[in-house]
């Protein structure tokens, strides 16, 4: 080990707290990125795995126009000799035992073995066909049964859309390989007949699985035979199409989470920059001596980078471990959000991919090294004599501050150009956001000088000479304070930005809900996916509810998923009444022209996100797959809708019934007669359907509250990320101030020696920290606003196509300011305490 390495090691071990905190900063940054990535991958892996497993060996599928397919289509295929082919009826059910959601898959055991051999329905299986086909019987993973304490012969109580039905557990599935074993953990396999009964869809299948020959020409001939056998409305598609479309749903959502997670890493980078700068500055004398002894610039450069690599390496390793811990918590939050917004996914475990860990480590190391680059250059670039003098550096920095600010302005300007130059790219949006952040960071030293000088007279008047000294100290130690304030500013600004964005979103949704929920009572079947409920209200329940005394008007809503020429589409069929025009606010098109057309015939309205996602607007024609084949529908308007970021197409009930055979209802809205109280009406309604399907009957206000609760739940992860970014910033301020304090031991010694009491020194340091916090707080407000603006009008628009109203809530701003000052104050406490206690003689002896 050379002298150089020994000196480096000595330095690192001499400052354990500083180095430890820097490592922790990197670790949290890496942890957040890794955790989000792991949670995202686990959720999508869980979905893909279960989709793949349920799809099995099928290469193609026949699907219907809506969610279902007449089972006569299967008969046709069989009669045309198209084998192997297997019918599937699928949906979701909840099991009382263990309160778990299961994917219920109805299969035909005699036709299924080529597709899903792991279910053991083929020759040589131990399946009791008699029971499976003639009873309401189900198969379940052996491991899940063990977890839930169930055995063959037990009765399961399966809840589907509010109706609970007994199903006998008739057998256990124990696939040979571990991967499949995991994939079947949330599967309940039943006969087609049982599934049709559970989901109340007699005569209907979800799809038909096919196995096409792999040889290209044979496949073409085979597919042609299939198409020939298919009636209008039935469609042939590759079996991975569906998985792909479903995976597409969460793309924008995943991307935004990833981008937000990077924010913590960026704040962490500032931390490393700060630590490395400090380490270089503190060793200016040592470096000067080394250089004078003949150590080359290259060696010094490598030394500094080497130290950074050690910090980054250790930080990354801990970050990865911490990330895994964090991810196991986040993944359930994420799964909940996906369940609320998009589709049912049960994530039973974290899948830890090596690639994610490698990415995290690489990102941690890369960021650390990049952040250490400027200090390393600083250490190398200076000539031997100037390195020895810190004051030179401080004054140089002060002189250069306006130049840095100019550079920052350029970077921020480049970010704006990036925004103006692109239209749809979400990454460009985040790129611009990043430019603004970095640009602002460059401007901060200059702003710090200005603000400190500005408040100096004020502080002088309030706290006398200590006040003036505190303000002055911020400026004279700009190399340290500048970075600390920048880190805190960026962290606080991002909380302001994200906070304002969530608040604006919330406000917009609140007023939208008020606008669109105008009926008195809403009835829905319980649904596993809150925002996209396609569950069906039992027809007997619907009839009874409409007949309850005190009901004046009843409107139905039907929600189904259909195939359109642009992609998979959520279709909503409504009964337009006289007040409908008030409920749906049009962004494009006029109520006078749109509604009569929608009432009259094949015309639709599309929601704003739909219009954005698929680039369809008024005057365009949408081609929807219907039970009458593919049919054109004229788009007559675009309406505001914040219910689904996937977008919705709306048509009238009469048009729906003309083109689709489905007569189900997904939701009912009732107006109460003037003389009836809503609460009394709800009680009557509940009584009238007692013992039937367990539907949710809610008042206007209750539904609004539930909606907002779900809304808040979907933003939990964002809030968690926001808090983690603050944690990193806090650590940043702590390290920066600690470095500052340690560095100024001698200065404090002088102050003490010249007669300042420990409380005075403490007051001086505390005041200075708080001043830094206040500066960061003030600077973060405009930056936070800019971030919020970009998030609301660029990122959200580009991700989901929503128009949101930007509202700046006062409390978010006050909170941020308080947070900044408190963080800085707390961060200043420990160094203050240490310094106040230190003996001035000892501090001075160091020289």
């Amino acid at each position: 080990m050379t002298l150089l390495h020994r000196s480096s090691r000595r330095y690192l071990t001499r400052h354990p707290w500083l180095m430890g905190l820097s490592v922790l900063g990197v670790a949290i940054g890496v942890a957040v990125v890794v955790a989000i990535d792991l949670a995202n991958t686990s959720a999508s892996r869980a979905f893909e795995l279960s989709a793949e497993t349920v799809t099995g060996a099928a290469t193609h599928q026949v699907v219907g126009a809506g969610g279902t397919l007449d089972d006569d289509v299967y008969r046709r295929l069989r009669a045309a000799g198209l084998r192997p082919s297997a019918p599937v009826v699928e949906g979701y059910g909840s099991l009382q035992q263990g309160d778990r959601t299961f994917q219920v898959v109805g299969i035909a055991p005699l036709a299924d073995a080529p597709f899903r051999p792991y279910l053991g329905t083929g020759a040589g299986s131990d399946l009791d066909l008699g029971q499976f086909m003639t009873d309401d019987a189900a198969l379940m993973s052996a491991r899940t049964a063990e977890d839930l304490g169930l055995a063959s012969g037990d009765t399961l109580r399966v809840g589907v859309e509010g109706t609970t039905q007994p199903v006998v557990l008739s057998g256990l599935i124990a696939p040979q390989n571990e991967r499949t074993r995991r994939a079947v953990a949330n599967l309940l396999v039943v006969d087609v007949s049982t599934a049709q009964r559970l989901f109340d869809q007699s005569g209907q299948l979800s799809r038909i699985d096919l196995l096409a020959p792999s040889d290209a020409s044979a496949q073409e001939a085979y597919l042609a035979r299939v198409r020939e056998a298919l009636p209008d409305g039935a469609q042939l598609q590759r079996s991975d199409t569906r998985t792909e479309t479903v995976a597409q749903m969460t793309k924008a959502f995943d991307l935004n989470l990833t981008a937000l997670s990077l924010l913590a890493l960026i704040v962490g980078a500032f931390l490393i920059y700060n630590t490395m700068t400090f380490s270089v500055v503190q060793r200016r004398a040592l470096i000067g001596q080394l250089r004078a002894l003949g150590v080359t610039r290259g060696e010094v450069f490598r030394l500094v980078l080497g130290e950074a690599a050690v910090l980054g390496g250790v930080g990354s390793v801990f970050g990865l471990l911490l990330g895994i811990v964090l991810a196991s918590g986040l993944v359930q939050l994420l799964a909940q959000t996906i369940n609320d917004l998009y589709f049912v996914v049960e994530v039973s475990e974290l899948s830890i991919s090596t690639w994610t860990l490698a990415k995290g480590a690489l990102l941690g190391m890369g960021t650390t090294l990049a952040a250490a680059l400027p200090p390393a250059q600083e250490a190398t670039a200076a000539s031997v004599s100037t390195v020895l003098r810190r004051s030179t550096r401080e004054s140089t920095l002060r002189r250069r501050a306006p130049g840095w600010a100019g550079l920052g302005l350029l970077v921020a300007g480049a970010g704006s150009l990036l925004l103006l130059g692109t239209e749809q790219s979400i990454w460009a949006g985040y790129g611009a956001l990043f430019c603004v952040l970095v640009g602002t960071a460059f401007m901060i030293p200059w702003a710090v000088v200005g603000l400190s000088n500005g408040v100096r007279p004020l502080l002088g008047r309030v706290a006398g000479v200590i006040g003036r000294m505190a303000a002055r100290g911020v400026v004279t130690n700009l190399s340290r304070t500048g970075v600390a304030i920048a880190a805190l500013t960026i962290a606080i600004a991002s909380t302001v930005g994200v906070g304002v964005m969530i608040d604006s979103f919330r406000g917009t949704v609140t007023s939208w809900l008020e606008q669109s929920l105008q009926a008195d009572v809403y009835v829905q079947p319980p649904s596993l996916v809150f925002r996209r409920s396609t569950a069906t209200i039992d027809s007997a329940v619907a009839r009874r509810l409409r007949d309850v005394k005190g009901v004046e008007g009843a409107y139905s809503v039907r929600r189904v998923t259909v195939q359109a020429n642009v992609g998979r589409t959520d279709l909503v069929a409504v009964e337009p009444g006289p007040e409908t025009a008030d409920v749906y606010q049009l962004k494009a098109g006029t109520p006078e022209s749109a509604w009569p057309a929608v009432r009259a015939g094949p015309s639709v309205l599309v929601s704003e996100p739909y219009s954005y996602r698929y680039d369809v607007g008024v005057g365009d024609t949408l081609r929807l797959q219907t039970d009458r084949g593919q049919q054109p529908f004229a788009v007559k308007g675009v309406y505001y809708d914040y219910g689904s970021d996937l977008g919705v197409t709306l048509m009238s009930r009469s048009t729906y019934e003309q083109f689709y055979d489905d007569r189900g209802v997904s939701g009912l809205a009732f107006a109460a007669a003037d003389t009836t109280s809503v609460d009394a009406l709800i009680a009557d309604m509940r009584a009238s359907v007692a013992g039937l399907q367990d539907v949710l009957i809610r008042s206007n206000r209750a539904l609004r509250e539930t909606s907002m609760r779900v809304f808040d739940r979907t933003f939990t992860i964002t809030t968690v990320l926001r808090l983690l970014a603050i944690a990193v910033a806090f650590i940043g301020v702590l390290t920066a101030l600690m470095a500052l304090a340690l560095e100024r031991r001698r200065e404090m010694g002088v102050l003490r020696a010249t007669g300042m009491t420990p409380p005075q020194v403490g007051g001086y340091l505390t005041l200075q920290s708080s001043l830094m916090g206040a500066i960061a707080g003030i600077l973060s407000l405009p930056l936070g606003y800019v971030l919020a603006y970009v998030l609301v009008f660029v990122i959200n628009k580009r991700s989901f196509g929503w128009t949101l109203q930007l509202t700046v809530p006062g409390d978010v701003l006050v909170q941020s300011l308080v947070l900044a000052v408190v963080a800085a104050f707390l961060a200043g406490l420990y160094p203050t305490w240490r310094m106040a206690r230190s003996s001035p003689a000892l501090a001075l002896q160091d020289e």
């Binding site: 071990t13 001499r14 354990p16 707290w17 430890g20 490592v23 922790l24 670790a27 089972d71 006569d72 299967y74 008969r75 069989r78 009669a79 045309a80 000799g81 084998r83 035909a108 005699l110 036709a111 053991g120 020759a123 040589g124 299986s125 131990d126 399946l127 009791d128 066909l129 008699g130 086909m133 003639t134 009873d135 052996a142 491991r143 256990l172 124990a174 040979q176 571990e178 995991r182 006969d191 087609v192 007949s193 049982t194 049709q196 009964r197 109340d200 007699s202 005569g203 801990f318 990865l320 471990l321 911490l322 895994i324 811990v325 196991s328 475990e349 974290l350 830890i352």
Partner: protein, 388 residues
């Protein structure tokens, strides 16, 4: 400083422990679970309580009796035929559709779903290609619901997917047989040239000891057949003679019976001979073996075990060495001046399906010439046929 270092090390250690713990908790153990194995045919066998039994002769009624008898556990529609193509090569076919009740009829499940049924259908289709001595055999299963498989008397139709036996509106005949799979297929029209024969005692065929171990059994022993045969994509016009058996029962074989050898021979002198020999586990023929000789005019002469002697001259072992079948016989009925040598067109006519059996085209020489089919079950497999 040193105290700080201890604290820091502790902190780092804690983080590491947490991380490792989380990993171990999430990584799952690779425990293996045993999978037992029982065949589909076993699922089809089982308890006979709740079903009707063939206990006494019954009046047959047509066309109703061409249709299904869901009160009984098992039933089949069975057709074999020997055909000649334009090139004079011999061809043979077998098309059999079995019905079996998964649960007794009074436990028939009620459900809004058309897929819910306790009726299971199984079918075998085999073609013997005498031109290149190749044998093709296929097997299918289907539920008797949702219109996928089923049987009905009027208009007569028994089907499983695209394999079917259909009659015109009022009667079963001319019967059309259609089946095709993997480039092998038949589309044949069958017209009886002799009246229907009720087997056993007025159609009650006792198969084992004890009341009810019997089936209802009738045959059409000779049906003029014409139509097309598809072999490796080529369509051939064929003509020949078919044999059709109808049988339904709830239990037939006794516990000490392990299988049967069944002969259906159409002699060129106009007579048809049916004889089945039930084999006991010790290899000797059971006393319940019986048969019939049908004269050119349709007159019948029942046969029992004492009337017939069968001698095995040669055996054939399946390519995988697991099943050995007789493939060369002398069959004598001294009272009827019948002394026949029966040999298969070629030995390998074994159906390697869920329950393996041999069913093939045979040629007859000796006191008379002719052609026919022989079925042999219970050689090296679990006792009983797939639908016993």
């Amino acid at each position: 400083m040193s105290r700080s270092r201890v604290l820091l090390t502790g902190l780092i250690g804690l983080v590491a422990l947490l991380g490792l713990g989380a990993y171990w908790l999430t990584a799952s153990s690779g425990e293996a679970t045993l999978q037992t194995s029982v065949s589909v045919s076993e699922a089809m066998a089982g308890d006979t309580t709740g079903y009707r039994r063939a206990t006494a002769p019954r009046p047959f009624s047509f066309p109703a009796d061409h249709g299904p008898h869901p009160g009984y556990k098992t039933e089949w529609w069975y057709a074999t035929g020997t055909l000649s193509g334009p090139d004079a090569h011999p061809y043979g076919y077998e098309l059999t559709i079995f019905r079996t009740g998964l649960t007794p009829p009074d436990e028939a499940p009620e459900s809004p779903s058309g897929w819910r049924t306790n009726q299971l259908y199984l079918a075998h289709f085999a073609v013997t290609n005498g031109a290149d001595e190749k044998f093709h055999a296929f097997e299918r299963f289907q539920r008797g619901g949702a219109g996928l498989a089923g049987a009905q008397a009027t208009p007569f139709r028994v089907w499983l997917d695209d394999w079917s036996m259909t009659g015109p509106d009022s009667s079963a005949f001319p019967l059309r047989l259609q089946a095709q799979q993997e480039g092998v297929g038949v589309d044949l029209s069958l017209r009886p040239t002799k009246p229907r024969v009720l087997q056993g005692d007025q159609g009650l065929s006792q198969k084992g000891p004890g009341r009810g171990n019997a089936s209802y059994y009738y045959s059409y022993t000779r049906l003029a057949t014409e139509g097309t045969l598809v072999l490796s994509g080529d369509t051939l016009s064929v003509t020949g003679d078919s044999w059709m058996d109808r049988e339904w029962s709830t239990s037939a074989l006794g516990p000490d019976q392990e299988g049967w050898d069944w002969f259906s021979l159409q002699l060129d002198d106009g007579r048809d001979l049916m004889y089945y020999q039930l084999r006991r586990t010790d290899g000797t023929p059971s006393r319940f073996s019986e048969g019939v000789i049908v004269g050119p005019d349709g007159s019948t002469q029942p046969l029992d075990r004492s009337d017939v002697s069968v001698e095995v001259l040669d055996t054939w072992t399946s390519p995988d060495g697991t099943h050995t079948y007789p493939v060369d016989w002398t069959l004598r009925v001294p009272d009827a001046d019948i002394d026949l040598r029966v040999t298969p067109l070629f030995p390998n006519q074994e159906l390697d399906v869920s329950v393996r059996y041999w069913e093939g085209f045979v040629e007859v020489e000796g006191s008379a010439t002719g052609r026919g089919y022989v079925e042999m079950t219970g050689y090296g497999d679990s006792p009983g046929s797939p639908v016993s």
